[in-house]
């Protein structure tokens, strides 16, 4: 066992068992400074993870859980990650921003992940390197990309980065979410909150409708004469029957939904005047306007060459390795993984499958059979929760929902069940954040 001080050069020939044996022999020697880098140089492989959200943080943790001798580096610009899940509860006044904020201490201190807070600005699949905004270059044997989504600026006429400062999307949690909340707080009673919902696919299919619910809850408490209008580019949406029935029960006619067939598709945004125009020329003026715009995979995915013409990332279902570029595994909202939705739960589940596949591959083994599941809770009111669940396996080479599994909360559930689901939604959020970042919300 050598003690050379050269990190970032994995020696793949060394098995874990040999490392263990070597450590046994080394135990009689005095441990001196410099050992740690040498240990890293004898790692079973080097994995770089880009993105510290549900997918990336989970991948980093589960790589180290499965094989602590991997050298794992997580690249994430933000020191604090704000989750999109439960950001609607912040808008509704049910949760503080600090309670949807998560850091990277557990990954670093407990699991030995090297966490680098900088931007991954480019990568070269041929040389297996990632260049960072801080000037460093990282070499990888395997790369995990969990880039989330980016907005397709101007795909909706008039909606660009400048417009988003006036009319927030709040579809990446953080300052945008706070801006939307301030606008809600500043709205006069009797005003109209207009939410523009996109075509599929997009991050968090039930998200716009939970947002409408939480905004309606806030308005019912503080501005009861106000209305919520949803202008939708499609005719059907996630958990539609459950939402519609819940809205009626909790908010009467305060929430109006207009689908594609009813001229709900918005084609132009005038951010300065908070106006939107639909396909057939109807102009709606909003007091607070929230545009959930068309989306695509996070931009680094395009740089990596893993996106296709759709702007999303096709992956091999068994491992979530890119179909287009070897040794790059992509997880989360950026991927084409239907029937799995673009949810934090799925990003976490996909990351576990990818991490196991990487660990197996670096050992020269085949990947374990994948299993995925999903549960998306939505809150219609503080004590009114609904859910959709799914369990997924590979069938005939593609991802498929296991027959007879999953599905929606019953349409005729009792108020007690709705309340239990609202409580379990909080239990789910706290548990998945603990599983992903080790943080207690």
């Amino acid at each position: 066992m050598s003690f050379d001080n050269t990190p970032f050069q994995p020696r793949l020939g060394v098995s874990r068992r040999q490392v263990l044996k070597g450590m046994g022999a080394a135990s009689s020697l005095p441990l001196i400074g410099g050992f740690a880098p040498a240990f890293a140089s004898n790692s079973d492989g080097r994995v770089v993870v880009i993105g510290g959200g549900f997918g990336g943080a989970t991948a980093a943790k589960y790589l180290k859980r499965a094989n602590p001798n991997l050298a794992v580096t997580l690249v994430e610009p933000a020191r604090t990650f704000y989750t999109c899940p439960f950001s609607n509860l912040y808008l509704g006044g049910l949760r503080e921003m600090s309670k949807i904020a998560h850091g990277y201490d557990e990954l670093r201190d407990r699991y030995g992940v090297e966490v680098v807070h900088t931007l991954a600005q480019d990568l070269d699949p041929d040389s297996h390197t990632v260049s960072l905004a801080n000037g460093d270059t990282l070499h990888y044997d395997k790369l995990v990309l969990s880039p989330g989504i980016d907005i397709r600026w101007n795909a909706l006429e008039g909606y660009d980065e400048a417009a988003a400062e006036l009319v927030p999307h709040a579809w990446k949690a953080g300052p945008q979410t706070e801006l939307l909340r301030r606008q809600l707080e500043g709205m006069e009673d009797g005003g109209t909150f207009v939410l523009v919902a996109p075509e599929n696919p997009f991050r968090c299919p039930p998200g716009p409708y939970e947002r409408a619910s939480m905004v309606a809850h806030y308005l019912s408490q503080h501005k009861p004469s106000s209305k919520v209008l949803i202008l939708d580019a499609k005719d059907n949406f996630s958990k539609q029957g459950l939402f519609t029935s819940g809205w009626e029960q909790l908010y009467g006619d305060s929430i109006e939904w207009v689908g594609l067939s009813g001229d709900g598709r918005v084609t132009r945004v005038d951010a300065e005047n908070r106006e939107v125009e639909t396909e057939f020329g109807t102009v709606h003026r909003a007091d607070v306007l929230n545009v959930v715009p068309p989306q695509k995979a996070g931009w680094i995915a395009e740089r990596a060459g893993v996106t296709d013409d759709s702007g999303w990332v096709p992956v091999k279902p068994e491992t979530f390795e890119s179909q287009q570029v070897a040794d790059i595994y992509v997880v989360g909202d950026a991927t084409v993984a239907a029937p799995m939705p673009k949810s934090g739960f799925c990003a976490n589940a996909q990351a576990k499958v990818a991490a196991a596949a990487i660990v197996a591959s670096l050992r020269g083994d085949s990947a374990p059979d994948p299993y995925w599941s999903n549960t998306c809770y939505s809150l219609i009111g503080p004590e009114y929760g609904i859910s959709v669940a799914g369990v997924y396996r590979i069938q005939d080479g593609v991802i498929a929902e296991v027959e007879g599994s999953g599905g929606l909360s019953p349409s005729d559930a009792s108020p007690e069940i709705r309340q239990m689901e609202a409580e379990y939604a909080v239990g789910w959020y706290n548990a998945i954040c603990q599983d992903t970042w080790g943080t207690d919300a």
Binding site: M23, K64, A66, G112, Y371, S373, N374, T375, N430, Q434
Partner: protein, 110 residues
Amino acid sequence: MNLRLPRAATAALGACLLLGAAQQVLADDAYDLQREVMAGGCANCHGTDGARTGNVPPLAGRDADYLEERLLAFKRDEVADTTIMNRIAKGFSDDELTSLAEHFANVEQE
């Protein structure tokens, strides 16, 4: 048995403790990749290793027979006032549910 810290690995304990990495290195040897992948989704509500306590019941270290019986009952819609577990359990074969029950029963509590 699939203990997280198998007897065979304890030989290396002394050396590993000196390195401050004992738990991780040993866990590595005990880690059943296939079973961990099958159990992966459970953590999203029950916490890592099913060990989180809260309004979602913990799974770690509970009796295997009890867990198996509950999982099979969820699958067969025999638990009144179930919210989600009946929908999840139907995604697994009976054998897989038995394997999951054993897996969580054998998680060592910290």
